[in-house]
Symmetry: C2
Subunit: 376 residues, 2 copies
């Protein structure tokens, strides 16, 4: 369990890529290193260039440059970081957040002797405005994209991250328990989703982003979709893939239930998908390749048109991808969602658990039981 921490892994990347410092702009990376979470549910803010950027010199300094109209939460212990707010929303004068952001960035770079630095960046999220400013102000600065390196070192989690994912998994349990409690004919999919979401949000004490497939009847055949006004009918299957985000860390879970009585082919499909899930869970241990886990599930139930699973952290889909082409070996403290599915023309079934890779196997983080027929 003496795996290097994410800051130690970042220092290794720094050596490999020979950068002097990092400028991170992807929200999930900023969250991962700073614990700063910006709730994105209402989209990009018209009052910000970026909700936050993070400037890191591993082992030395870390600066969070964050919009001052956002709540900056309390940070986890162990995070030594200076928070630099930039003026974002104002009403007394014209909005000027891009210049405010750049001015503060200039100050941080000037004070810390990184004017001639080689900077590790995320070129998929770094706005051109920031790059142009840096190259104009600091002509000797060099840039290297580190997106791929970051994706790989995010694949295993520190202890505090695992605690965060446990908390998000607990919300999955609450959501899946709410499904069993509230699923009934006559309710719309949106009405059912509303009850599930309220139980999760009440547990969290705040609004949370929730990604969800919540479909019923023949809509389950395609494996997913957003809840609609479709009314749940007697005999409908309900496929419920609930993916909540708590303080920036995601959980993930899926169950499929029947309202009333299932037919024999539905019951058989549920049984086989559940077996496939547990075959994968049994096979998880350090040294096994991601693609082997994927293959075990497809062998048991046939091919299905999506990944067999994926890592989960500050993104709902991370490394290790559980897909046919991924030879990455599992290591302790990876967190993996497993989600085999069978889809027929009339109905679909998918079951999912979130697991933590341990020294000897795995621990199931989502504690709810997959239960097909409701006890009413």
């Amino acid at each position: 369990m003496n795996q290097p921490s994410r800051f130690e892994r970042l220092a290794l990347i720094q050596k490999e890529t020979q950068v002097d410092a990092f400028l991170f702009t992807t929200p999930s990376t900023v969250k991962w290193l700073s614990n700063y979470f910006y709730n994105f549910e209402t989209g990009p803010s018209p009052f910000q260039l970026l909700p936050a950027a993070l400037i890191v010199q591993p082992g030395r300094t870390m600066y969070l440059l964050a919009a001052d109209n956002e709540t900056i939460p309390a940070f986890a212990p162990g995070f030594e970081m200076t928070i630099v707010p930039y003026a974002s929303y104002v009403y007394e004068k014209p909005l000027d957040f891009t210049q405010q952001f750049l001015d503060k960035l200039y100050g941080i770079i000037s004070r810390h002797n990184i004017k001639k630095a080689h900077l590790g960046i995320e070129s998929g999220s770094l706005p051109l405005a920031v790059f142009q400013f840096l190259t104009r102000q600091f002509p000797q600065m060099k840039f290297t994209d580190v997106t791929r390196e970051i994706a790989f070192i995010k694949a295993f989690k520190d202890r505090d991250e695992i605690d965060c994912i446990r908390a998000a998994s607990h919300l999955c349990d609450i959501g899946q328990t709410a499904l069993l409690k509230h699923a009934q004919e006559g309710l719309t999919e949106l009405g059912l989703f509303s009850l599930i979401r309220l139980e999760m949000e009440s547990s969290a004490g705040t609004r949370i982003p929730v990604m969800a497939d919540l479909v019923s009847g023949t809509r389950t055949a395609t494996g997913g979709g957003i809840p609609t006004n479709k009314v749940i009918q007697p005999g409908d299957l309900i496929l419920s893939d609930i993916t909540p985000c708590l303080n920036g860390y995601w959980g993930d879970s899926c169950n499929t239930v029947v309202v009333g009585t299932a037919n024999s082919s539905q019951r058989e499909a549920f049984k086989r998908v559940n077996e496939a899930l547990h075959i994968a869970i049994q096979a998880i241990r350090p040294g096994v390749k991601a693609m082997e886990i994927d293959s075990l599930m497809r062998k048991h139930i046939g091919n299905f048109p999506h990944h067999g699973g994926h890592g989960v952290g500050t993104q709902y889909h991370e490394e290790p991808r559980i897909v046919p082409c991924n030879a990455m070996e599992l290591v302790p403290n990876m967190v993996i969602a497993l989600e085999p599915g069978m889809y027929n023309p009339d109905f679909g079934i998918r079951l999912e658990h979130l697991v933590l890779v341990t020294e000897t196997g795995c621990e199931i983080l989502t504690k709810f039981q997959h239960c097909f027929e409701l006890i009413s």
Copy 2:
């Protein structure tokens, strides 16, 4: 009413800035010109460089480069546009969406003789990866940021846009009516929000992004906040600022109600804020300056620590900003939210309507009545 359409206004900007074509990357701009809406409720997708980019040669061609794992909706009549999907989510092979995006972008530019073009861009949202690719592939290409120009020509709306905002305003009415119906002691703020949201989503037939201040009791004193587990008490005020997004266009509305009986200072404050709102509504007509409307409200109720209002469209806050420093003159077909508020140490009251500037005054788009004391 023979105002130039947004495409004609874009052509004017093209002339002024002497660009040959535009590359838009801000979701609200892409929506505005292409009608393509990407629901951002679950944050940036791990399967995309960008949900979409739009390449426009006004009067000639328009290309929507969109991630193929998103649903591309039907488009409004009059949009002549080629949709170019790029491979985003795949499970059979490694994710490669950035290269896929760039390859398709290369194809569009190569085919349309804009290799040596002067391109109008949005530098706050253009990812560095795209810029670096373009400068490498097309060394003669030139770039000019047009963010500010776009912000101003978005301030007045075309007829089809006004229809979209009417539909979003109708969701505000449904939400505010649901507030009056469901507000009661014993419910949590989150529970009340859940009921309001369900009525709006049921009307829309799908999940919709909703920004909301929903606070009760002394929480109203600061003017807003996210709903929590706070239980609504007898005598509590509830401030409910409901801002839903339907197909990419926002509505906006606020009411403040009392659960039980208000005291005289609360009743007086409600009366004065309501007067301020209607003084502003009465004053709106073409030629009046935004700052004059703002000033009328502050004169009537004293200063308050936020804008007096703002434009609404594909962003929840656009030009014209109704703030002390904005000398912009109102013109027909601007859509403006007006939201005066009074905040005391113990309670706060804010009331908001959305209006459309007409040739002679304005039309109130939100049809609900501001009603302080609930009829139970």
